[in-house]
């Protein structure tokens, strides 16, 4: 399985995402923001960082990059797409995921290991996990507070599209402790914390994040 990892100007975590793909047993494919095709990949990861310097709003400019036209078209066909941190912000700005990410409630940039709880395994990126499974992963963001309108929040809850919740304290004031959500078809997932930084105890707090990348190995069908 080939998994694309997009690099925008200002992306930071593409190298770790590539490494996570390799650890999961897939072939990473580097994609560039100005590319106009996805090189036939079976899934796409939009990694973290500060794409385009967070100009205008975090993720706003990147959501209009040429490669994102292809990602949006791919997602409509069922291509699995994962957005991590700034990638989550980009997918929200691109309209692939509902809601938005705003400045942390305490105003502070939060950089800490924390526990996530898997709330749904009906997605391309959590199918190998179990509901209630706890993942020790880092969170590092200044604009990680998930917000959405009351109707959207109710819909996410009713449809089981809240994928991850903060289980060891809500450090950014996210509505309903939401750390990650999915599209209606479960193929597109975004989350603020960084599973790609937690794939090897040598370099991270755990290897709990690996399950996100191994989950997608079984989800390539339906492109």
């Amino acid at each position: 399985m080939r998994i694309g990892v997009i690099t925008f100007p200002g992306t930071l975590d593409d190298v770790d995402a590539v490494r996570a793909v390799r650890y999961a047993g897939a072939e990473p494919v580097s994609l560039w923001h100005a590319d106009r095709d996805l090189d036939g990949v079976d899934a796409v990861i939009v990694p973290g960082g500060f794409s385009y310097g967070d100009y205008l709003r975090a993720g706003a400019i990147a959501s209009l990059a040429p490669i994102m036209t292809e990602v949006v078209a791919g997602a409509r066909r069922g291509l699995p797409v994962l957005g991590i941190c700034n990638g989550f912000q980009i997918l929200c700005e691109a309209g692939l995921l509902p809601g938005a990410l705003v400045r942390n409630a305490g105003l502070h940039f939060v950089c800490r290991d924390l526990t996530l709880r898997v709330e749904s395994t009906a997605t391309a990126w959590t199918s190998a996990a179990t509901v209630g499974q706890e993942l020790l992963v880092p969170l590092k963001s200044g604009e990680g507070r998930y917000v959405a309108g009351p109707d959207t929040l109710a819909q996410l809850r009713d449809e089981g599209r809240v994928v991850f919740r903060y289980a060891s304290g809500n450090l950014n004031g996210a509505f309903d402790d939401i750390a990650g959500v999915a599209s209606a078809d479960g193929r597109v997932v975004g989350l603020m914390p960084h599973p790609e930084h937690a794939i090897d105890p040598l370099t991270g707090p755990s290897d709990d994040g690996l399950v996100v990348f191994s989950s997608v190995l079984g989800a390539a069908v339906g492109r």
């Binding site: 385009y52 400019i61 990059a65």
Partner: protein, 79 residues
């Protein structure tokens, strides 16, 4: 109480890469005819009626704007 609006803009001679990024994104959206975009900040302050213009400009010039790189305007509006 009075409503005061302070608009802060980068000086014309200061490069505004943020505005340029927005202009570039408009082109990618397929919108033609936007020659330039400059991005600034808009502040709304609810202040005591007694606060004079000199104080408002001091607020703008010492905190809301950096006089080296930004211009500002102060206006009282009906709240």
């Amino acid at each position: 109480m009075a409503r005061v609006v302070v608009d802060v803009m980068p000086k014309p001679e200061i490069l505004d890469p943020q505005g340029q990024a927005v202009a570039g994104a408009l082109v990618r959206l397929g919108i033609d005819g936007v020659a330039d975009v400059r991005q600034g900040k808009h502040f709304e302050l609810d202040v005591d009626d007694a606060l004079d213009d000199e104080t408002l400009h001091r607020i703008a010039g010492t905190l809301l704007a950096n006089p080296v790189i930004e211009d500002w305007t102060v206006s009282r509006v009906a709240s």
